[in-house]
């Protein structure tokens, strides 16, 4: 280490104060164990400068001392040990409740009810109920456009900001699109419709209303081999008055979330596929949300109906419980699976043959 103008404060070059003396007269340069009073040095140098004959010696002395003083010096003596307090450990006492809040019996009771609730979606019913409210529209409110798309049309209305009020006093706010289309899939026509909205509200003067957001639609494909495939999908966070809602769980607020269903029929054969993440509105329910993961039920793989896929149920504290039925390749003919909570088996959960039969008994679609 060297001492220079650029490093006036580096260790070893820092003036040290001798205890009890005035800094101006008692600063010293550290040079190992030796200490030279700077005042004396400066005094000697000053004399040398004033006396040319002595200058050479003094210059050498100054340079030597400067280099010696600022040359590498051993580390400072370690500071005297300090008795610092020891930090206390932090020993929190808060514990999370990780226990299951759901029993097998509660799960067993909830599962078929939930499946029926999802199946009871009735997308056409939701479409028609909104259609009934749209009858309150007039020529200017809400502003509506109809445009052609490939194989169909899109009817769209929008009334942003404070919305608009039609002639009979009905409020329209937001944006809704209604699409009908016929497309081709594998050379076979697929006929479908969808109703999509951002946030919207329609409210009549008599208190009938629907508000929230919605995306719902359905398709039908009739194949030449007699296989008919119907699909429906819904994503909904809706509210409606009691009259408008009827008994539709998505409109009564009993169900929120999203679901996709596929129903296939060919002669007596029936197939039902379900994917959904839904939650009931009942805050006191034992099951506060449910996932249906690739649930498939058919009446061909097993005599009383085969079941595959998995279901996850959430308890009141947010603990998720899983039950795995068979796989696509090997559906469960008993339709039973072990209810699992965080790796612990809780007991068997089953769909009875009667429940399976009920889910697979329909003419056109199960919804």
């Amino acid at each position: 280490m060297s001492c220079s103008l650029a490093h006036p404060g580096v260790a070893g070059c820092t003036p040290q104060k001798v205890g009890g003396e005035h800094p101006a007269t008692a600063t010293t340069l550290t040079m190992g164990a030796l200490r030279f009073p700077c005042v004396a040095l400066r005094s000697a140098l000053g004399t040398s400068v004033a006396t040319p004959g002595a200058m050479h010696r003094s210059w050498l002395l100054g340079v030597s001392l400067a280099f010696v003083a600022c040359a590498d010096s051993p580390p400072d003596e370690p500071p005297p040990p300090v008795d610092r307090p020891e930090p206390s450990p932090y020993e929190p006492t808060v514990e999370a409740n990780e226990d299951s809040q759901l029993t097998v019996e509660q799960a067993q009771a909830a599962l078929p009810a939930l499946l029926h609730q999802v199946i009871a979606t009735d997308p056409e019913g939701i479409r028609d109920r909104l259609g009934a409210l749209m009858a309150h529209a007039d020529a200017t409110c809400p502003p509506t456009t109809v445009s052609d798309i490939e194989g169909g049309t899109v009817t769209r209305w929008e009334a942003y900001g404070e919305g608009c009020t039609s002639g009979d006093g009905t409020l329209f706010q937001g944006e809704v699109r209604f699409t009908t289309a016929e497309t081709m899939q594998d050379g076979v026509p697929v006929v479908g419709w969808s109703l999509d909205s951002l946030q919207f509200e329609v409210r009549t003067t008599t208190g009938d209303f629907m508000r929230g957001s919605l995306s719902v639609g359905a398709t039908t494909q009739e194949r030449p081999d007699g296989l008919v495939i119907d699909t429906m999908a819904i994503r909904s966070q809706l509210e409606a008055d009691a009259t408008t809602a009827g008994d539709n769980p998505w409109l009564t607020g009993a169900l929120h979330g999203q679901a996709e269903l596929l129903a296939g029929r060919q002669g007596p054969g029936r197939l039902l596929q379900m994917r959904a993440v839904v939650k009931p509105a009942d805050g006191d329910a034992a099951v506060t949300a449910t996932e249906l993961n690739e649930i498939q039920l058919d009446n061909a793989s097993c005599p009383e109906g085969g079941l595959s896929g998995s279901v996850a149920m959430r308890d009141a504290l947010g603990g998720w419980h899983d039950v795995y039925f068979g796989s696509d390749d090997a559906p469960s003919c008993t339709a039973c699976g072990e209810l699992d909570f965080q790796g612990e088996a809780m007991g068997q959960l089953c769909l009875s043959p009667a429940q399976r039969t009920q889910l697979l008994t329909w003419e056109t679609t199960p919804w």
């Binding site: 005042v39 610092r84 947010g318």
Partner: protein
């Protein structure tokens, strides 16, 4: 004459032997710090948002040992809750002017927009303020099964007022619970936190997870030095996910960030409407699994994924305690911590822990800190924290202190304008991340405007029972003020006791005389504005 070649050794020696070295660290000159009056003013503004009363001032001037008694009691003042919210506002960052939905989206009146906005901004802070003011263990901010809100939110969000309302609640708030089956995790269960820290499905709550870690663990991933990988196709989602899981430059953060983020899917809104956004989406809690993302965990330890467990895990983390201490210390000292502060942080941590995570105890401890009281010192826990000589009042403190003195508040639709950026907060140096500590022209302008407004209402006799209104009560405002009256006004506003012949008194009387040529009302406005706009009210 000294030849040039002699200059170098001369300079070297002169530098090496400087007679006036900086004071060595182990032997500082005696640093008296602030006097008792200044500490009283500082503590009062920091803990209550107002200047000390004349009685408090006189008590400390008469007997400086009364200082600690008075300061200790300040945390029991109802206004402490207000200041706690301000202390933690930079942590939550919810005090902002815009949110995804406003009052009209819930069928509320247009005039309620600002109130609704403020209600969202304060939700999480209300809970923190309540826990602190009622001296409950601070861990409750992340474990509470209730929230505290402006009742306007009851009409918009799935909230139900609890049956019994604590008497300790701040006026204009109610205790409520969400009735949409969301887990109980205090601030982490509030809508406001996630409305402020939004996410997209592709971001997968990572930004939110960082907001949680930053707010409660002082662990900001965005401040970590990273060697950002350059070979990743950022337009390809698969490539990004692969990098997140396998590229060392990414996993350094994502290995712990992503498992945190997987706790937060219940606040992922699949639809953009006001109802969806206000309702907990419990059915989405396990979307991380469907999207093949990291399983929930807490810094290396797998968790059940419940949001309530995350709240507990955070409060059980020693960093939660250290972070809280740091926030209070930085907030009260008005500066960021340095390495030199580590010892004192440890000292205050001891107090906080031994008091059962009482924020009141922690604040009391910091109020006694030598650095807070302006004294640079060597901590017995190590380090030599720099004393804080001067602080700049925040726009909020400026407003509350002027209001307390005069009854005047600059407001719009009933909301304090110093709390809204598009009003005067940003101009005065405020913001969602906390106020600036640097004086500015904007701060001075707002200060001046408050002083002018307050002076005007005092002259109009609208200051109600404020100290200045009382001081002026019965005074003949058409006559020249007496020196004693000015002495009293200076004590009220600047918290200083001066004598009747003090130059400041003379100057103000002279000002009154000069302005009285126009009218005595103008003269009084001038005097009161000068008193209230005095820099002594902005620097403390």
């Amino acid at each position: 004459m000294v030849k040039p070649r002699y200059l170098l050794p001369l300079v070297l020696l002169a530098v090496g032997c400087d007679d006036d070295p900086a004071p060595p660290p182990e032997a500082p000159a005696v640093d008296p710090g602030l006097d008792a009056r200044s500490v009283l003013v500082r503590a009062s503004l920091d803990v209550r948002g107002v200047r000390p009363t004349a009685a408090e001032l006189d008590a400390v001037l008469a007997d400086p040992t009364q200082l600690d008694v008075l300061v200790d009691g300040m945390v029991d003042d109802p206004r402490f809750e207000h200041r706690v919210r301000a202390l933690f506002a930079p942590a939550l960052r919810t005090r902002r002017d815009g949110y995804p939905f406003d009052a009209t989206d819930y069928g509320l009146e247009e005039e309620e927009r600002l109130r609704f906005l403020r209600a969202i901004a304060e939700e999480g802070l209300n809970l923190i303020g309540h826990v602190a003011a009622t001296d409950r263990p601070f861990s409750e901010v992340l474990t509470a099964d209730y929230t505290i809100v402006d009742p306007i939110l009851l009409a918009a969000w799935p909230l139900t007022q609890t049956g019994e309302q604590p008497a300790s609640l701040r006026e204009g708030t109610v205790m409520a619970r969400y009735d949409d089956a969301r887990p109980s995790a205090g601030v982490l269960s509030t809508n406001a936190f996630y409305w402020r820290h939004t996410s997209t499905v592709d971001n997968a709550n990572r930004g939110r997870a960082n907001a949680v870690a930053r707010a409660f663990l002082c662990e900001d991933y965005l401040e970590r030095p990273i060697d950002f990988p350059t070979g990743v196709d950022l337009t390809n989602e698969t490539a990004i996910n692969d990098a997140i899981n396998n590229n060392p430059g990414c996993t350094a953060c994502h290995a712990t960030l992503d498992p945190l983020a997987s706790h937060l899917w219940g606040f992922m809104y699949i639809a953009d409407d006001a109802v969806t956004w206000s309702t907990y989406q419990s059915q989405n809690e396990r979307l991380w699994e469907q999207r093949d993302l990291a399983a929930p965990g807490f810094f290396g330890t797998p968790t059940s994924g419940r949001l309530s467990s995350l709240g507990v895990d955070i409060t059980n983390d020693p960093r939660f305690v250290s972070c809280t201490v740091q926030r209070v210390y930085e907030g009260l000292l008005g500066r960021e911590i340095t390495v030199a502060d580590e010892g004192q942080l440890a000292a205050h941590r001891e107090v906080f822990i031994s008091a059962g995570l009482s924020l009141k105890a922690l604040v009391r401890s910091v109020l006694k800190d030598p650095a807070y009281r302006g004294r640079t010192h060597i901590s017995e826990w190590g380090g030599r924290p720099e004393g804080v000589d001067l602080k700049l009042v925040s726009p909020e403190q400026l407003s509350t202190s002027v209001e307390a003195l005069t009854g005047y508040r600059l407001s719009i639709f009933g909301v304090n304008m110093t709390e809204i950026d598009f009003a005067v907060r940003a101009l005065a140096g405020g913001g969602e991340r906390g106020p600036t500590s640097t004086p500015s022209l904007g701060h001075t302008i707002v200060h001046r405007r408050l002083a002018e407004g307050a002076a005007a209402i005092l002259i109009q006799g609208e200051g109600d029972a404020s100290p200045l209104a009382q001081r002026l009560s019965g005074v003949d405002l058409s006559a020249e003020p007496s020196p004693d009256l000015i002495v009293g006004l200076i004590a009220d506003t600047r918290s200083e006791r001066v004598t009747a012949d003090d130059p400041a008194v003379t100057s103000l009387i002279t000002l009154w005389r000069d302005l009285s040529n126009e009218s005595s009302e103008v003269a009084w406005r001038g005097v009161l504005t000068a008193l209230l706009a005095d820099p002594a009210l902005a620097i403390y």
